[in-house]
């Protein structure tokens, strides 16, 4: 009887597309530096006053 043949040996090649994250990186750091600048300026205000 004929055996059902599965094509088990064939490797499925997953095409991995490297996403372009340059814009995301830029916006993450833009937000990051905004948070740091505002945090530090409030902290300096706190240190400056008695």
């Amino acid at each position: 009887m004929a055996k059902t043949e599965f094509n088990t040996k064939k490797k499925i090649k997953v095409e991995h597309h490297e996403s372009d994250l340059r814009g995301t990186l830029a916006s993450v750091f833009l937000l990051g530096f905004f948070i740091i600048v505002t945090w530090v300026s409030v902290w300096m205000l706190f240190l400056d006053r008695f």
Binding site: H16, E18, S19, L21, R22, T24, L25, V28, F29, G32, I35, I36, W39, W43, F46, R49, F50
Partner: protein, 158 residues
Amino acid sequence: MHIHKFEKIWLTFGIGCLIVFLSIVGVSAFYLGNQPPSCLTTIDPETVGEKAPFDKPGLNKVEGKEWDYELVYVASAFSYNPTQVEVPLGAKVKVIATTKDVVHGFEMAGTNINMMLEPGYVSEVVTTFDKAGEYLIVCNEYCGTGHHLMHSMVKVVE
């Protein structure tokens, strides 16, 4: 698990920021000993004004403590006692305040002195008055119909 190079960069940056911010708060609390103004010091609100230090509201010189003066305030609806105080420039002062009746605020405008005064609790803050000028103390917790009239003045003089 594959992580994009950029993702590694911003994850490191974010976690680094978190560690720095929390470390500053931790050092402030556990090494420098900073604590909230109301920190478990209690008093019977019925007898405020009878016992020290609230029997002598105002600026009192003290010896043998980390600070030179104690500035004592008793708040009640709708005033502070004392209403006006002169503090010498550069004096290290412990501000001690409490309330006789309801919750009041204690904000010295333009400074970091900003406390809530709760009945039964003593609020304290230690600071060095190193800038001359007039500083208005206002109530910033709504305490009743005369809330907006409640104020006091501190003059830091040379």
